[in-house]
Subunit: 339 residues, 2 copies
């Protein structure tokens, strides 16, 4: 039964985008399991902006991945060998499995069972960290009221698209910012957004003047930098900014791009609040229940973007920063027994 495990290990910290020198593909024999451990064959790896954060030298909300260590990443797979009765062979699991074909879980690595009947792939997207992030960020942090104007940046992304749809369910007027006309059409024609702004061809400030003459009540921000700064100039009284991420800053070698108009937080008595889905672990079931309900009612739609093969993970990460993905980006590493 013991075979080899292929892994992507961090070889060098990148300056900007990751490249062919950032990771090295290594093979090592699989060791035997200790009591309580179980072996997971990884089916999918979730590719997220936060992967780029984890390979910066600076500590973040988790310690940086060390040089020579397996790249950290969320994934889903199935148990193929077990010395843990709670995780018999065949169990679908979710966890920080790492960029590798097999993960030994149960002691050093925590993995949680996927609810029966839910496809592994959906646990990487709508019911995964991105969907749950959208849920808590929009409802707990931003908390839009009926009729309020809500703007979402990175709106065609995995988190932004769900966040915007949740704001619609709440009765908000929702405007998405995305990077292609095709993405903008998807937002308005299929997801029910009230308007969309193509930041590559439109001036966001001018469009916000037209679309939100009374200002923006809620901004769900995935981007940071100049986009955030423009929104700061369009806040309504009592506005809430939920800072979900700042993708525009993650590849910055040194100092992130600036914002200037934070002083408008005073003028508009507004709040800018960062959050991480990790802080909501104990409330995940609440979010997944709500998302399952909304999906079953056809009120939440999403797209998955699956890239094939472990060795494509670094390229997939760059696709994310170039906006080349359409929907939740993931890498298929091995077979999906739930498909």
């Amino acid at each position: 039964m013991r075979g080899t495990n292929r892994q992507l290990r961090l070889a060098r910290r990148p300056d900007g985008m990751v490249d062919e020198h950032t990771f090295e593909l290594a093979e090592e024999p699989l060791r035997g399991l200790a009591d309580g451990e179980f072996l997971v064959r990884v089916a999918y790896l979730s590719i997220d902006p936060t992967n780029r954060v984890w390979i910066r030298a600076e500590p973040s909300y988790l310690p940086p991945v060390g040089i020579g260590e397996v790249m950290r990443g969320g994934g889903a797979g199935a148990v193929v060998e077990s010395r843990n009765d709670a995780y018999p062979v065949g169990t679908g699991v979710l966890g920080l499995l790492g960029w590798q074909e097999y993960a030994i879980c149960g002691r050093d690595v925590t993995a949680n069972a996927v609810p029966p009947g839910v496809p592994l792939q959906h646990m990487m997207s709508v019911y995964g960290a991105t969907g749950v992030t959208a849920y808590f960020g929009m409802l707990d942090v931003a908390d839009p009221k009926e009729g309020e104007t809500v703007v979402v940046s990175g709106a065609a992304g995995a988190t932004g698209s769900v966040a915007g749809q949740i704001a619609k369910i709440r009765g908000g007027r929702v405007i998405g910012i995305a990077g292609t006309d095709e993405k903008c059409r998807w937002l308005t024609d299929e997801l029910g957004f009230d308007a969309a702004i193509n930041y590559k061809t439109d001036d966001i400030g001018v469009r916000l003047d037209q679309l939100c003459p009374d200002g923006v009540d809620v901004f769900f921000d995935n981007v940071g930098g100049a986009t955030l700064d423009t929104l700061l100039r369009h806040l309504a009284l009592g506005a809430r900014i939920a800072l979900c991420g700042a993708i525009s800053t993650y590849n910055a070698a040194e100092t992130p791009p600036p914002i200037h108009w934070y002083v408008n937080l005073v003028v508009q008595r507004a709040r800018m609040q960062g959050f991480l889905v990790l802080d909501y672990l104990d409330r995940f079931p609440e979010a997944v229940r709500a998302l399952v309900q909304w999906v079953s009612e056809g009120r939440i739609q999403w797209r998955d973007h699956v890239v094939e093969g472990l060795e494509q993970a670094p390229r997939a990460l760059n696709m994310l920063f170039r906006g080349e993905n359409t929907g939740k980006l993931m890498v298929r590493v091995g077979p999906d027994p739930s498909a």
Copy 2:
């Protein structure tokens, strides 16, 4: 009884600091009172950073002062003539009386009676907008808990010094940032701050590394710009930033100075919130009651800095931005019947 009124009117919007061309001293005859009006002889004008905001061209939380209009300013005085039974001659009042010797209140200008027995001068400082701002900003917005580390910028200022003392009353460990060694000694030796940083001679970041190795839980910010950016790099998990003002930005002709490290709001799940004391008008009595109590117990100290003469108001405003005042800056315009 009808005499003349001397006024400072806005003549030209300044680029940076105000200068001799910004205001013009004008005289006009006092008009008669209409029913419901009362005439106030101004005793003190409060000089605050917000005065500078009000003469920018851009709308803020109040419309800009128009060219040719009397400069807007908070003040205190006594009623000297009245056609309003609620405000008989001799009543001490407080309001946006403007940079002038006499204000006609009761219709166009609202003025509120000062509690009997409280000196007019104290209504410009510890019981005035600055003290009340400190109260709500620290307790409502920042809400420090026992043992938390609290940093205050502009800590020797009228608002910052009271804010820091309130944080001490709440059981916080309080560090003040100020611009002279004398101010720093006042904070630590007389007001009971735990430490002080002279931003002109010390590197704030280095000092925060030494003084707050576990990060800053609460930052009460009067300054903005580079000071705010440094604090963003020293936040503890769950930190709260109360944005009271951004004095470093008010003289900026165009774009305010940048901050870069807002992304740490995500990493530390922190919140940055602007507030204005105007939103707490209905709760002023609560704040003044608490401040009166603390002052009577010797737990809050403050200094007033009185500049003599209406025509000195523009110079006094610049003193504020140069950090030349020690304590709450005000201009004495006329006699103080409560002194």
